[in-house]
């Protein structure tokens, strides 16, 4: 894999330097080198939103910091949780006196670091509450939904939580909306090629040519089946079958997000979206919000993820609210 990097151990530093240079209007550095904050005023008199996770998933996580979304982000090494101190520093950056909602994904490292960070924040009298995204239906059976990983559905959680905080809701309200967003969201991915952590220099999993891994995780975690690569239409069918069975859909409208995992051309994402749209409509489900692009990636992994969110009036309002960030902009 030929890459655009310098020292493989310094890719995260280099990425942050570039992001800050490119988006001074959106993101600023903080005293903590692995924490970025929204360039606007600090949240004052409203709930602050923090997220964080390993790098290599860009535009996640830092790409979802901005007005109407997150206030600060803790940035980990490639595919590794940020440190407890990073999360703690992010909490301090995002605190405006009304508490902090930490909205992140369900991975062991993140869970532990956030827990430690919340302990540290408590000493500063900062109230931190969390919503832990677990939208990946392939990562555990429904009875063990609390073991499921968070994937691209986190974006919906950030959007809902961020919009609710912007509306001036208190911490309970923000947490409730973010939790509602993720509770109504299901995702699943298909991997078509492996990816390589630059510092490791070789992939730590493989997907053979001609095979696809259904249910793959965002770091190459094993999925639920390795099958011969199917036509896009069948891929869409396979993915939606899982999602719709899990979501107990009752005819509501939905938001649909099709994300590339890194190396899959945009044309293929749109091609897949066409099938997803058709299948949903055949189930009398109407995609009211439609996102297609590289929203949550895994370095140069080829593949796609599909995320469906069941909408109610509140979620509709929150998704429609204005927001601006690298990864997602909703015009006001």
């Amino acid at each position: 894999m030929n890459r655009v990097i310098d020292d493989p151990d310094q890719v995260t530093e280099g990425t942050l330097r570039g992001v800050l240079a490119a988006h001074p209007d959106l993101l600023v550095a903080t005293d903590h080198p692995r924490v970025l904050r929204h360039a606007g005023d600090r949240p004052k008199g409203r709930v602050g939103i923090v997220t964080g996770g390993g790098s290599g998933h860009e535009p996640a996580f830092l790409g979802y910091v901005g007005p109407g979304l997150c206030d600060a982000v803790a940035v980990g090494e490639v595919f590794a949780s940020p440190t407890a101190k990073s999360f703690h520093a992010a909490f301090k950056e995002a605190d405006g006196g009304k508490g902090v909602a930490c909205l992140y994904g369900n991975y062991a490292g993140d869970n532990m670091n956030v827990k430690m960070a919340a302990k540290l924040a408590a000493k500063d009298d900062i109230t931190v509450r969390t919503v832990i995204a677990n939208d990946d239906v392939a990562s555990a059976p429904r009875e063990e939904a609390d073991k499921r990983r968070g994937v691209a559905g986190e974006i919906l959680m950030w959007k809902a939580g961020g919009a609710r905080a912007a509306e001036g809701a208190d911490l309970d309200g923000v947490i409730a909306s973010a939790q509602k967003a993720i509770d109504n969201t299901r995702s699943i991915g298909i991997g078509l090629s492996a990816c390589t952590i630059p510092a490791a220099g070789k992939p730590n999993f493989t997907i053979e040519a001609g095979k696809m891994e259904v249910g793959i995780g965002h770091h190459g975690e094993h999925g639920i089946a390795v099958l011969p690569v199917a036509p896009a239409k069948e891929m869409a069918g396979l993915m939606l079958e899982r999602i719709l069975a899990d979501l107990e859909f009752g005819g509501e409208d939905v938001s649909v997000l099709v994300s590339g995992l890194g190396a899959t051309p945009l044309m293929e994402l749109y091609l897949l979206y066409g099938h997803v749209d058709e299948i949903l409509r055949a189930h009398r489900i109407t995609p009211r919000f439609r996102f297609v692009g590289n929203y949550f990636t895994s370095l140069e992994m080829a593949g796609v993820s599909v995320t469906v969110t069941r909408l109610d009036e509140e979620l509709d309002r929150l998704l429609r609210a204005p927001a601006r960030s690298i990864g997602l902009t909703v015009a006001g």
Binding site: S81, P82, T83, K85, G109, M112, N113
Partner: protein, 216 residues
């Protein structure tokens, strides 16, 4: 044979532990590679290298040494190892607050505090194939020896034996937590990487204390 070691005299143990981890970086990664993602040695060595660098620049006693290790792991090592071992060392250091020496009793309390920090955060149980499978039997063996009236040195020897056994016990376990868990039955048959690093840490700690107890 002495029954106490001052925290000042014991200070070098903090960096000796780091040295052992750094020395065994390859081994730890190799073991992790069998069932996990093969980075345990990298993660651990990175943390302890940083901690030892920091310790190299100041004078400290064992409590301060452990506090620096804990702080470094929490501050510079993400993933699971940062918070788990970070809590382990931070909570051990906290338990020594107000003491200027280690004896059989406050050593037992220290180990208990460290182990509790790890369990509190990681919620692992004995048998889950994690570092807990070393920490718990080692702590229990030390406590049992002490209760039996064994002196500090003898209790440390009991700890060393139990720690090594604990590590070996992970070989036949099926991982229930961490990356290895997804392998299910396929995780049986190899040692656990975290248990291996925990054993290295406990052996280095016990050896360091034994040397100083014998020397006194």
């Amino acid at each position: 044979m002495a029954e106490t070691v001052t925290l000042a005299d014991a200070a070098p143990i903090a960096t000796e532990i780091g040295a052992v981890i750094i020395e065994n970086q390859g081994l730890l990664s190799e073991i992790d590679g069998a069932t996990g993602d093969g980075d345990h040695g990298i993660n651990m060595a990175k943390g302890f290298r940083l901690a030892n660098e920091r310790l190299g620049k100041k004078s400290f006693d064992l409590r301060e040494g452990f506090a620096t290790i804990g702080d470094t792991l929490l501050g510079d090592i993400g993933g699971s190892m940062g918070p788990l071992y970070g809590s382990f060392f931070t909570d051990m250091a906290d338990s020594l607050e107000g003491s200027d020496k280690l004896d059989r009793d406050n050593f037992a309390a220290m180990l208990t505090a460290g182990e509790a920090g790890v369990v509190d955060l990681g919620e692992a149980k004995v048998g889950d194939k994690t570092l807990i499978d070393v920490l718990v039997p080692a702590r229990d063996a030390f406590a049992a020896a002490a209760k039996d009236g064994k002196d500090f040195a003898a209790s440390l020897e009991a700890l060393k034996a139990a720690s090594a056994e604990g590590l070996e016990s992970t070989r036949d376990m099926v991982a229930k937590l961490g990356r290895a868990a997804r392998l299910g039955e396929r995780s049986r048959g190899t040692l656990d990487a975290g248990a291996c690093s925990a054993n290295l840490i406990l052996q280095a700690l016990a050896d360091g204390l034994l040397k100083r107890l014998h020397a006194a």
